[in-house]
Symmetry: C2
Amino acid sequence: MNLKQLADLLGLSQTTISRALNGYPEVSEHTRRKVIEAAQRHGYKPNSNARKLATGKAGSIGYVLPVGRNVDLDPHFVEFLSGLGEHALTHEIDLSLTPAPIERESEAYRRIAASRSVDGLYLSSMRNDDQRIALVRELGIPFLAHGRAYKPADGYAFLDIDNEGAFHDAARLLLQLGHQRLAFINGDTEFTFALHRLGGVQRAMAEHGLPAGALKHHSAAMNEDSGYRLAMALYDGTKADTRPTGLLSASMFTTLGIFRALNQLGISVPGDVSVITHDDVFPFLKPESFSVPLTTTRSSIRAAGARTCERLINIISGAEADPVQEIWPVELVVRASTGPAPTAAAKPGRRESALAAE
Amino acid sequence: MNLKQLADLLGLSQTTISRALNGYPEVSEHTRRKVIEAAQRHGYKPNSNARKLATGKAGSIGYVLPVGRNVDLDPHFVEFLSGLGEHALTHEIDLSLTPAPIERESEAYRRIAASRSVDGLYLSSMRNDDQRIALVRELGIPFLAHGRAYKPADGYAFLDIDNEGAFHDAARLLLQLGHQRLAFINGDTEFTFALHRLGGVQRAMAEHGLPAGALKHHSAAMNEDSGYRLAMALYDGTKADTRPTGLLSASMFTTLGIFRALNQLGISVPGDVSVITHDDVFPFLKPESFSVPLTTTRSSIRAAGARTCERLINIISGAEADPVQEIWPVELVVRASTGPAPTAAAKPGRRESALAAE
């Protein structure tokens, strides 16, 4: 009996079976016992037949790892990789990383195709008009995109989250709370996810009759430095009645820097400014761990890694013959960093006189 | 002309040459020009002959990627990988990751050996009495350890930082500043680096005539949650004249949690407590980015990744025939989170009466 047969027998996914046998905490004790008993009864040995599930010959899936000037692999990657590794494990599949600078990545894809060293590969950090989709298709390598081009053509498989919807809902909440002046410290708009997020914010503003120009928008790499620098640019020396009271942030790291700037300037969250952040569900930095627990748009990038591996195996084996364009909805989780817009009458007036007195 | 010849000609390392040609910011404009001119003059084309440098046949180096219950790959890994990828790029070498749960890792190493899918591999997260060294040696796979077993035997190659010396120096600074009550929120002492760090702190204390029991020591995974939880355990409800005034922390993420706890408890840094943290030089979270810039023990884990790749290639090619045990010194960088111990006379007295009045 192989993994698939055991999964079919129990009506569980192969991933659940494997996690149960490997003692993952996500699987309930009840399910774990059921799986272990069935595995013993039917003589299933983990991994003994697993390799057969993937019809690929290399036993490996590939990724071109961006390195070089101005490229920082970041903590998002390690979480994605954790999820991918968890699933790859259940199929005894390796992950082959080919380092390449952005400007020579097509060379790397050609080399991978020529060497036949992988059965398929995934693309990530998708760009507005991503050239890699046509390239890997031309090279005949089975692939899945994590993310998508801005206007995705038919016929290629991707897994993405609904970045547009997520940031639409986040901006709408701020507007519903009475915030009229919004700012967005976005990721790099070279990438599609950042463009989608910007589109979502603009749609919510249009629905509330606000012009697109009413948004203060900054685009930068998602890290503490950028968050600090751009929040200082937005808030240092500004008056309470003109500065943005609703602030959207692209990542937890960006928000670390935003909080440092706001603390330094004596601007309180959510009294003066409401903040909403995208949360990729890092185990090492949680929204509850900020001085004010963060309201977030939430989607696990680890789960996306596992699903990317699962679908890529299906694409390689032919189980996903017609390319699927899968988009995950994103939750909006309200915590303490959002509140009503400060009333124009009371606070800004007081602030101005305080400033005038200095 | 190949990369090595060009490097020899210019008296630069192969990594520097490659970085110069790839436009890395670490290389000065002067060096970059010199390299580009020499490359043009001698007809060197990046990567055209690079593969020949590694005599391995697979063109790939391996790593067994820990996955499963209670294993969180963390941001340290992504930084190490960035450095490794940068160097691998200069030799057109891929990195093959084989996911495995800790309890079945020996199986993974055997599978790698049997498949001959890599030319060599590196070990990481080294443990006190690490069984993998004997295993990979028995399997005949060329390898390099990043880190080492607690009492390293002769005859295997490793790259490590001087964790013992780093934390000795950090603890000594606190003692020199008059701190008598020290605490250490360490990494998991299952791993050698944490044991070495503990040993360094204890040595400094012994040199100052303090018993080992005077150290409050906690061991945990290095993340924000642990830092918060353990700092709360150390400081919540304690009096100023009994609690630790000198605090050592294993990582930047741990220290994020420590600062959250101390802020919540109204304990100031460095007025009430001095803090020293180990800094792996993450680009996404810097010691200057804390509300109080952090005093740190500093060593770039990205540089360690690049050097691991460089040496592993040398080991595979035979250029490093006798195993080298390389240990990097660690800098102690003083910033604002350390200061003199609070004087026993003034502050604690005030505090106690304040508490008594409540």
